[in-house]
Symmetry: D2
């Protein structure tokens, strides 16, 4: 599905052109339309957006046989195991922007979030040097991490952050590989556990918000505690967050800092960038996944219910919503690519 | 709906008999079957359990004209405004067990949870004395509070508790008066705000877990921070809880303390009591509302995902599930009545 | 909600400008933004589309005091009882396009569907004459009828139709006035009855597809049998239809006739018209409400699963999907207005 | 899941004892508890009913190595392909009651429905003779067929039936093998196609309601037209049915005939039999899956909305609800076994 989202995002992209489509052996040699057609005449196209006819007749090659000389950037949306195998092959010659977790935790690999930590891209040079690659692998964070770090980044800068508690109510489309969550499991239900998710959020949050020291990242020295649950929502990860700030700040000041965050980034006018990284809402009933996930085509983190948290020193709490298959996946990856290109890094 | 749940609970009750049914003026003078019949022939009976035919022909009187001399206990399941008006009238002569919030926050009114704080019933005498009532009002806590205090009570006793963070994913049936949550509002969605709910949870938790000092309750001096959301689940409030303990304790020790909690209460063998107040599960995918809410007919608080919380000193975190219309409403109220009767207090 | 949908549709309309907003007494004197604001700071805006800021400061007048001299057309989206009262007042001076059922069954009132039966507009003159109105009332059909008549119209013309069976699976947003269907009633459920709906579909279908005889409509002399159910779907009425044709025709021929239907109408290029009135899909898993309701902004009736029905002479069966709040309500009404204006009838 | 349902049904069965448990190679050699445990400590037990601890330590054997000498009846709940392979092996020595479709369409195999067509069991002798088996295979019909034939059987007998139209709204749990329907596919949606389902319903309905001629079944010579859809409901297949009767009969007469149907069967007092095969409801809002599926533990077909169908000669239409994993699967199969045993046929 992340792969399909890439095509939706790249269909009319002003800078990037889809030069090649790679998939599993099973699809190799087919046109893209054939590759997503099932035996019974139905289609495995899963995005809300219409099937992009422009790619219908494009040939699909086996992922292992992609000619990386023919492309300038590889967008990789495979499962972690496949990523571990394929991405080094691609990166040998070509920059790889990846939604997979395979390399996120390696010392020489930054986890990049557009508008938040582009300076971490300095690690890409080290990665090339140490691994002998001409390209590199630049992974996005997990789709649950990304909204959290965007909301935390302005707090880290303005006030400092001392501890973070987060409970997520995650959408179905984040569950990854087909067939995803079974309807019988989630109808009239909450699933209180997503394997590996909490660890990913905790580690990635500290890494993304960490400080670049030469060519290494010093993770933010702040404990992060995550509880990740799945609810019966199509798209949009909802998170209830409590933060202990480094200095006292009231909800209004926090809202102002959040709303102003990333202006210099959004002012770059990158094709996939939203006009605002964070939108702070006053309506106590917001954000809601169905109502707010598509704000700015899913590229803005929507924050609401900002208030003091009396149970924590200098505590502030809020809810946030982040579109897990837009900013949290393919379109976020394309935005990252745009940023790297614009900065001359890709 | 809470009223209907009372009838389900009392239908075959070994101790209590339904002597009178009271409702709004609109229903007065009808039989109960007529009172819940709509003009088009359909029924407004909402419980999963079958309509209790035994009450079908029982006459319904206006709530304001209930003859309290004819009853030993009044179970009150009206909205808060009506409770504020009606319950004092009833309490003038008769003990009232209430699911309403109207009197929960008064100094001379205990908020009682069976198995947790029966000693607070000492306030009932003061209430009678100060208000000149022969009866009294004993409210249950909010349906979101009750599972939380049951899970916290053993921790308070065994380790002490220093702070509590809770994010709830609440069921639709907790939304109270008809028609409740609109399907359009909650389908494919999360609603991040429930008016007054967080304040109720924070205040009630401290009060229920407070210490009786003479005829007053000294609230537990612990900050409680709640974020209450609504999800598309029929029954069963799910809560993600983080607790800072007073002394270090590992998850296993916490699990043991929780699992052993309330044995002396459940050993009383009260008709509506579950065999265990808390069940602790090892399966990381549990508790789930649909799978666990009906354990022991919804009278057991189900705890899972017990683990250390690294972001807090002596932190432990867990998920819990509590059936909001069973232990959290009518059947919990009946259990409370049983306990008070058994202790000679009603 | 239909009223809100009108504003979404009219926001950037090339022909129509919103000259006045009318609502209940409760909203009169407020700006539109105030009128949809709740006491707690939340908004009652319910559409997926963003709140149209352009109307935010427009004043709202009481429906009973609308100055119809200031407008050329009234779009009416009130409940049936209000429509019976208000629409004659408006129609005394001004054409009224209505989504209400109040006047649909009167002899001098056509039930108009753009592209299907504009010739029925001849009744508007009779209506003016007989009622002494300068304007008229032109209601749309029920949101369940409209997809059915669009799909049947080409069959009536090409083959004749002898009987129609239809089972609907209707969306929540068709349930009309706030708060609509309660979540508890429809979660994990099907509701097998919608008051008056089946009668409406049966009568309206015959009327819309009827023959104009002078200034009267001779209803199509064909029995229509409807079973209308509600399912847990936001938007998009799904219908399983069986038709007995007047002459033998295979599924391919039926598909061709359907797909070609309304070309002369869509060629008019009206602002709200879809490029095709009917889209016929081959994929056996289509149409699906979530995937197909937004085709051409909800203005195309999507047909699938076309096959012979062996249980009926010259039987053919298919499934259809029609967007109940787009073609079935406000945007369909605007399209009707466009058609009437373009034909010089309004 | 059907296998698990068998254990729920057989746990406290007064006649049958579970002598052996067979499953795939993967589970062979484990205890049943081990066989349903996942690597991460969670359980694959899927029924609402509690895990039957009595079977926890029972060994699981490979299905292909089941010692049929040790059992009197085999309950088979495997997929069709496996059934085609395994059931003949079992039937060589032992009666097999099956929920699989593999043998339903063979001439010497009856499709048996308790209370409806036990006389078809005469084919079992022919089956034994022709196939040289000591046992036999007796399949149940599809879970969508069974409610339909139970509702039609009294009409066939009392009035004759000339044609049948049925649109189903089927539950998720009927989707068979894990993981079943993906939540993303069915949330806020209807799926209009279930492969092979309509053909099964059409053929099986005629066979079950057919006449035994010697040792052959003459299918009921009546066209059956089915449209089968999937909705977001856990359990309970809902069907909207139109029937052309052989002689005129009003809804009241039809209701009476339905309500009285099967008295002689239910009077047998078989352990799994409901007190009534069909319950006819007057409330126009019923049956509803959530409210009515568990009537008599899911063994009664619930009928409502009985009314004339004006579009068909002697037409009558109604809605029905049948529990697809109770009467429509394991518990229906156990009831069938009871009936065969009671009649001396097994």
């Amino acid at each position: 599905m992340a792969g399909q989202q890439f095509l939706v995002t790249l269909k009319d992209h002003p800078w990037f052109e889809v030069a090649a489509l790679a998939a599993s052996e099973r699809s190799a040699g087919k046109t893209y339309r054939q590759a997503i057609s099932r035996a019974d005449g139905s289609s495995s196209w899963q995005c809300d957006e219409a099937f992009p006819e422009v790619f219908a007749e494009q040939p699909v090659v086996a992922a292992s046989e992609l000619d990386t000389d023919s492309v300038d950037i590889v967008f990789s949306a495979v499962e972690s195991d496949a990523a571990r195998q394929l991405e080094p092959i691609y990166a040998a010659t070509t920059p790889v922007i990846s939604t997979a977790s395979a390399f996120r935790y390696e010392d020489d690999v930054p986890v990049l979030v557009p508008g938040v930590n582009l300076e971490h891209a300095a690690l890409l040079k080290r990665q090339q040097r140490e691994r002998g690659w001409k390209g590199w692998v630049a992974p996005q964070p997990n789709c649950t991490t990304i909204g959290l770090v965007i909301a935390l980044a302005p707090l880290v800068r303005a006030f400092g952050v001392e501890r973070v508690f987060m409970t997520s109510l995650q959408a179905l489309s984040g569950a990854g590989k087909s067939p995803g969550v079974a309807a019988l499991d989630v109808l009239d239900n909450v699933i209180p556990f997503i394997p590996q998710e909490e660890e990913k959020v905790e580690i990635e949050t500290r890494k993304v918000l960490g400080r670049l020291e030469g060519e290494a990242i010093e993770p933010l020295d702040v404990p992060v505690s995550a509880t990740c649950t799945r609810v019966n929502v199509r798209d949009g990860h909802f998170e209830a967050v409590t933060v202990g700030l480094g200095r006292e700040a009231g909800p209004d000041e926090v809202a102002e800092v959040m709303g102003a965050f990333g202006r210099e980034f959004t002012d770059l006018g990158l094709p996939s960038a939203p006009p605002e990284l964070i939108r702070v809402l006053d309506d106590p009933y917001r954000p809601q996944p169905r109502l707010d996930r598509d704000l700015n085509d899913g590229m803005t983190t929507v924050v609401g219910r900002l208030r003091a948290d009396q149970a924590l020193e200098r505590g502030v709490k809020f809810c946030l919503l982040s579109h897990n298959t837009k900013m949290g996946a393919a379109k976020g990856a394309v935005l990252l690519a745009e940023h790297l290109v614009q900065q001359g890094l890709a």
